[in-house]
């Protein structure tokens, strides 16, 4: 139906972002749950994660999550409306328009935390 065109890119990006997100999710749940081990362990973990590399990693995961969320809504429109499949390509451009509108403020806020002075 749309091999090699936007629809296939949308599909592969959805899969790749999904796999990356579930990998991050397992690490994230483990990391946050390890607060059970007490302040000494948890503050040491946070000190290790203070490296901006981890902050940039979070920005990257947030970017994948936003794409997966918006393209997921596009898939639902394709599944449950009579017009979604016909306009799937236009919907994908809509996904990217929303991505920029929502993503840029998020990006600046998160980069502000990672590279700003705090307070």
């Amino acid at each position: 139906m749309y091999r090699g065109r936007e629809g296939q890119w949308a599909f592969y990006l959805h899969r790749i972002s999904g796999v990356a997100i579930i990998l991050f999710l397992t690490l994230h749940v483990t990391e946050i749950s390890s607060s059970m081990f007490g302040p000494k362990w948890f503050n040491a973990l946070l000190a290790f994660e203070a490296n901006p590399i981890f902050g940039l990693g979070l920005v990257g995961v947030a970017a994948l999550v936003l794409y997966h969320a918006l393209n997921g809504l596009r898939i639902i429109l394709m599944d449950f409306t009579s017009w979604g499949v016909k306009y799937q390509r236009q919907l994908w451009y809509g996904v990217w328009a929303l991505y920029v509108v929502i993503g840029f403020p998020m990006l600046f806020a998160m980069l502000g935390h990672v590279f700003g002075g705090g307070e």
């Binding site: 796999v19 397992t26 607060s35 059970m36 979070l58 947030a62 809504l73 806020a109 700003g116 705090g118």
Partner: protein, 133 residues
Amino acid sequence: MAMRARRFEEAKRLASSNLELAWWIFMRVSGVLLVFLVLGHLYTRAVIFDFHHDLNYDHMVRVMNSVTWKFYNWLLLFLSILHGTNGLRYIIDDYIASGRARAWVKIIVYTLVFLVTAFGTLALWGWNYQPME
């Protein structure tokens, strides 16, 4: 077997079982809920909260002891784990041709997912967090 239907009518026709159709519907329903829960999580934990400077053990104690956040995070944990694991199952079914390898990969993935979910549930509901002295 996972299916790649693009329409609800098609999904109903292609589903190999009622369970498979239920998973297809679950992915859509949990997906809509997760858009709000995950973006809410990102907004409260990464946008308006300075996670790089203001996150520490005492802050975690307050969040983890809040009943509201316990429910929010538990719902977020369960829906995202189920949605993500079922997505992985579709991908495993699509790309691993050998039935034997597929079975092993699934056993390993489901075991890891179960352990992580149990760990997260214990952290949310089975632990008493004490502030630092």
